[in-house]
């Protein structure tokens, strides 16, 4: 769901991508978020992933709001 350009730097260091370059076009953030939750992530952790850098990008902002339990447009 994130824009590449860094050569997957963070995964190369054994940590998750935090989206320095913002969301990818038509990113399916909900599918990734559900997967992260199913893998044991709690809502706060997943929300923070989308609410750090580029928190105002619509794809990230909507997913962060969904994780906070807020109503979001379909």
């Amino acid at each position: 769901v994130t824009q590449a350009g860094c050569g997957a730097l963070c995964p190369g260091y054994g940590r998750g991508c935090f989206g320095c370059f913002g969301p990818y076009a038509s990113a399916n953030t909900a599918a990734l978020a559900d997967h992260l939750r199913d893998s044991g992530g709690d809502a706060t952790e997943v929300e923070r992933l989308f609410a750090t850098y580029n928190a105002g990008a619509p794809a990230f902002a909507v997913e962060a709001a969904r994780q906070r339990g807020e109503q979001v447009p379909a």
Partner: protein, 438 residues
């Protein structure tokens, strides 16, 4: 007729961030000197609230693109103290190495691109490069070596991603180390040449009686850098006063002044004080070793240095020291450094951490709840601490140079601000905003 003379620099150039300078002289008396920082406040301390303290190194790094490592190190030190995390010796050494990279790139940037043009009589580094391309190229090579060290340890040179509370995500591999180590021999030559070049610059005369503050690294032989348990405070001649970081909140008071969006810091019982290369040199310069120490002796660099225009010489000595440290750290890097990260258990706590950013000591304090989330944060960067002293320097510069014409005196004032390499973007990270609606 009352003769009022005003000097205004509405946009200061060759500093990091947005600031201005206003000086007012009436009948030969300096009435007011204001380093006006109008860059908007950035609310980092506010936005850290409610975030996990594990995120503090990554988030606070974004305060500065030139000294992100300083934020990462001070943040890690503070959170590790709050949670009782002990980092391994290889982790500490690798942090020192990463920080050497930052000192090299930040100091090289300031010396060659921001400060040298002033002292050589050029409007900027590009014009200087037209006349002396070799000089500017040397500066860029040095900066590149610093960047390469940061990328080696941190993953990238700006906002490194490999730093975490407890250590690193992974250690660099021997294959990654080799090409960077190969850059450092030339970098040492460049750094030594830098000292010789800047030591020969014609410097405007000025003698200031500074009160210096620098980090006590808590290790007998180290020049202060990646961590330390206490601060040293003094004039550089008498034995300095030493106080633990736990006392920082009582000793250093931050105040809002009307003309600046960055809080001014005052040391209790002292007032304005200075952090940065001059402070480190004055209080702990005897910890310089190797080529840096030999050059300082050969060129008879005084200790303490009282002329702020000579800060460029101390900065250059620190680059030599940092390159040599980096060489030793890489040469002695263990074959089996053990785990890259210590065990970390988030819990409720209060921790303070400090490190020596290129511009001076940077102090972080975090209070966390049981989940390890930040309840409140305090970040005191070097430029906030230096603002009052920079204004005091300016006052002297103006008083002693009233015979200069406006353009020359204004340029002298700008140079005097740049002596302390202010990072305005760092200084406006602050939390509080005062709205005067009266």
């Amino acid at each position: 007729v009352t003769r009022v003379r005003t000097l205004d620099v509405p946009v200061l150039t060759r500093v990091e961030g947005e600031g201005a300078l206003h000086v007012r002289v009436r009948e030969g008396d300096v009435q007011s000197v204001a380093l006006s920082i109008y860059e908007p406040p950035r609310f980092f301390e506010g936005l850290l609230r409610g975030r996990s303290a594990l995120e503090a190194p990554d988030i606070t790094a974004r305060i500065c693109g030139i000294c992100p490592v300083a934020y990462q190190m001070s943040a890690c030190n503070a959170v590790e103290q709050a949670w009782g995390v002990q980092v391994s010796e290889p982790v500490r050494l690798l942090r020192r190495l990463l920080y050497c990279g930052e000192w090299i790139e930040s100091h090289a940037l300031h010396i060659y691109l921001l400060h040298a043009p002033d002292l050589l009589g050029y409007p900027d580094a590009l014009t200087l490069a037209a006349d002396d391309p070799g000089l500017v190229q040397r500066g860029l090579r040095l900066k590149k070596a610093g960047n390469a060290l940061m990328a080696l340890v941190g993953g990238r040179a700006v906002h490194p991603i490999n730093v975490r509370v407890g250590g690193f995500y992974r250690f660099p591999t021997p294959a990654e180390v080799a090409p960077v180590r190969a850059l450092l021999d030339e970098a040492l030559d460049d750094a030594e040449q830098t000292v010789r070049t800047v030591a020969a610059l014609p410097l405007p005369p000025l003698q200031m009686a500074y009160h210096f503050v620098a980090l006590d690294p808590g290790r007998e032989h180290d020049y202060p850098l990646e961590a330390g348990p206490a601060l040293l405070s003094g004039d550089g001649t008498a034995t300095p006063d030493r106080f633990p970081l736990e006392e920082f909140d009582e000793r250093v008071v931050e105040v809002h002044v009307e003309h600046s969006n960055a809080l001014h810091a005052r040391l209790h019982g002292v007032g304005a004080y200075l952090v940065g290369p001059l402070a480190r040199w004055a209080l702990l310069g005897d910890r310089m070793t190797g080529r840096a120490a030999a050059l300082a002796a050969e060129l008879a660099v005084p200790r303490p240095v009282h002329n702020p225009f000579a800060s460029i010489v101390v900065r250059a000595l620190e680059v030599v020291y940092a390159v040599e440290q980096a060489q030793h750290l890489l040469d002695d890097w263990p074959a089996h450094p053990g785990p890259a990260c210590a065990p970390v258990r988030p819990r409720a706590g209060l921790g303070r951490g400090a490190s020596e950013a290129p511009r001076g000591v940077l102090v972080h304090r975090y209070r966390t709840d049981e989940a390890g989330d930040i309840r409140d944060a305090r970040i005191v960067p070097p430029t906030s601490q230096n603002q009052a002293q920079i204004e005091a320097d300016l006052c002297q510069v103006v008083e002693q140079n009233l015979h200069l014409d406006d353009a020359t005196l204004t340029h002298r004032c700008e140079t005097a601000v740049r002596n302390h390499d202010p990072c305005i973007s760092c200084a406006t990270h602050a939390l509080r905003v005062t709205l005067d609606r009266a």
